[in-house]
């Protein structure tokens, strides 16, 4: 039976563990920070000298960790984009805007183990010469905000924040900044705009890559909560050891959240690629509710494309001799890691699986998700603002019994006019992937619901067609 591998969640649910600094210190807290501060400049074989900071950055790069916020960009590479030879300050923003439907991992860390995040942040700031950092937390985490404020205060009093931290000559201040209910603030440039006191309209890249023109037009690193915690573990156990966890291309552990129609919804920390979707659903989350059958799996937050539970996946695998072999597997046998899920046509995103069973209509699911994206579109780009509302109105109409058979194709047509780089940020794509995939993979359900409605109208109105919608 597949097992969890708890690094970040190691202590968080153990009996008596609490968010205080005393508890964290008792569990070897802030030791990794001391290790980072104790690094001395290192002479490499080719005669160069690597500063402590460069060594830390190199470790994170070598670890191969990919960001845990959703896009899965390699963290070390992100850090390497920062130009340290300017007189502009470098900022770090911890993205704690966790708002992707199906995701609830950062909540656990923030509420139960805030000092782990703070330690990870201090290490990341030290590695990148950051002296001012922010935790961008979604407004609804009101309790989380209190816990983090208290933890920051404790860290300040214990000398882990402020001037000359632990005699290292390194100064750092971390402040909490709260959002106020807008999903778009999770987009990194949206978070930056929000921090600047503007409407959180994402900025176009290029030129506004945070690493170049971020917060106050200065180089900025935006990392997810889980990523920053993982940085602490990378420095603690070393990049080589960390890279041995998971699989090449997607190393380490990640926290997976399972919710929806399942026996035991919850969060689990697994090694990437070492656990299959089937094991997550059946062994970890207890399988479907009594008498129900799983119909669909949303693999990585609501933006990801859906899988049918009876789907067969054709995967290309590289053999050790360099040749490729093709095999077809059941979706339940698909390993849960970025590469495998991507090869199967979706994404691990923020690691939130939502399980849907045969008691629910996929049209309902589409309508629910569409309401979400309609509400959360920031309104900056016309295709996204108008397209999402349009799709939502069609889905509302279908649910009110006024569907037409052509609606499925109409929804596809509109979604194709939103996606494909027509919007400033990835919200446009992310909002249409799910709807598109529901229609493609569950077309029969859309046709059935709209067909019945259309036929009923025919009976009422007869064949003259004057009042028909077609």
């Amino acid at each position: 039976m597949a097992k969890e591998k708890r690094l970040i969640l190691k202590h968080l649910d153990s009996k008596g563990y609490n968010p205080s600094i005393t508890c964290y210190l008792k569990h070897n807290g802030y030791k990794t920070l001391k290790k980072a501060f104790s690094l001395l400049p290192l002479k490499t074989e080719d005669g160069k000298t690597l500063s402590a900071q460069e060594q830390l950055r190199e470790e994170v790069k070598l670890s191969g960790i990919r960001g845990r916020g959703g896009a899965g960009f390699p963290t070390g590479v992100k850090w390497s984009f920062i130009n340290h030879n300017t007189d502009k300050p470098v900022y770090l923003v911890c993205n704690c805007d966790e708002s992707e439907p199906g995701t609830f991992k950062d909540r656990q860390i923030v509420h139960k183990d805030p000092h782990q995040l703070i330690e990870g942040m201090i290490i990341a700031c030290y590695a990148n010469d950051v002296h001012l950092a922010y935790i961008y937390m979604r407004g609804e985490f009101n309790l989380g905000a209190k816990i983090i404020e208290k933890a920051l205060q404790e860290a300040r009093e214990a000398g882990f924040l402020g001037k000359n931290i632990l005699g290292s000559n390194f100064d750092l201040e971390i402040y909490l900044h709260r959002g106020a209910g807008a999903y778009i603030c999770g987009e990194e440039t949206g978070a930056i705009c929000s921090l600047e006191g503007r409407r959180p309209y994402p900025r176009i890249k290029p030129p506004y890559f945070p690493a170049a023109l971020g917060l106050y037009m200065c180089p900025t690193i935006v990392n997810n909560v889980e990523t920053l915690c993982a940085v602490k573990h990378i420095i603690e156990i070393g990049a080589t050891k960390y890279a041995k966890l998971g699989i090449p291309g997607d190393t380490g552990t990640r926290i997976v959240g399972i919710s929806g129609l399942i026996q035991k919804p919850g969060y689990f920390e697994i090694e990437n690629g070492k656990v299959t979707i089937g094991e997550l659903i059946h062994d970890f989350a207890g399988g479907p509710l009594p008498g129900r059958k799983i119909k669909a799996i949303i693999p990585g937050g609501s933006s990801s494309k859906v899988f049918r539970a009876d789907e067969k996946i054709t995967l290309k695998t590289k053999n050790s001799d360099g040749t490729e072999s093709i095999k077809t597997i059941d979706i339940m046998e698909l390993p849960y890691d970025s590469n495998s899920i991507m090869a199967a046509g979706s994404m691990t995103g923020s690691g939130g699986l939502i399980i849907i069973d045969d008691s629910v209509s996929m049209v309902d699911v589409a309508a629910n998700i569409s309401e979400f994206y309609t509400h959360e579109s920031c309104g900056q780009c016309t295709p996204c603002r108008e397209g999402n509302l349009w799709m939502c109105k069609i889905l509302r109409r279908i649910l009110s019994g006024q569907g037409r058979r052509i609606d499925a194709d109409e929804l596809l047509r509109i979604s194709h006019n939103i996606m494909g780089g027509k919007t400033v940020c990835a919200f446009g794509e992310g909002s249409t992937w799910p709807i598109e995939s529901y229609i493609i993979k569950f077309r029969d359900e859309f046709l059935a619901m709209t067909g019945i409605a259309e036929d009923n109208r025919k009976e009422v109105w007869g064949e003259s067609g004057i009042n028909r919608f077609e």
Binding site: S99, P101, F104, Y175, G179, I258, P265, I354
Partner: protein, 168 residues
């Protein structure tokens, strides 16, 4: 008319100004402080914040109208926010919302935030609250409730009545 802001709020804003290299950044946190203290954001509050941070009032107003957590009108003493998004919906959040609306004489079919005629209760749907494993979830004012059922919501309502009785 003079709009006077209590010292506790003034001090908080002064403290926040120290957190950022630019004053404009304070706006969002200042709005949180005002929303928390007054229960809504008045035009006077917007003007006060704008003046304090050397901004045009529109720069503050555009944030108030963008973010769903701010309100420009006073809300009910008891404010229910029920998660509407997928994981909670699959676990029956619509039933909870309808139940609550019916109990309070509100129309569950209306879009947006609704307050009872006596101004005591406000009910609204909100988007994903990031606690999908304990769906359905809701906020009653600042308190978060998980795995709610119609029974537990009924209990919450009687708790509200009780609290109100104590204060009178």
């Amino acid at each position: 008319m003079e709009f006077s802001v209590p010292n506790i709020l003034k001090n908080k804003i002064d403290e926040l100004i120290l957190h950022y290299p630019e004053k404009r950044s304070v706006t969002l946190m200042a709005l949180h402080a005002f929303q928390e203290y007054y229960g809504y954001i008045s035009n006077e509050a917007i003007e006060w914040i704008a003046q304090k941070l050397s901004l045009m009032p529109i720069t503050v107003l555009e944030l108030v109208t963008f973010y769903p957590m701010f309100s420009q009108e006073p809300l009910g003493k008891f404010h229910f926010k029920i998660c509407r998004t997928l994981s909670c919906a699959l676990k029956g959040s619509k039933n909870i919302y309808t139940f609550l609306c019916n109990k309070l004489g509100l129309d569950p079919h209306l879009h947006g935030r609704q307050t009872t005629a006596d101004g005591r209760f406000t009910v609204e749907y909100v988007e994903c609250l990031a606690s999908c494993n304990t769906a359905p979830v809701l906020f009653l004012n600042e308190d978060f409730y998980e795995n709610v059922t119609e029974e537990s919501v009924a209990e919450l309502l009687s708790l509200c009545e009780q609290k109100e009785g104590e204060n009178e």
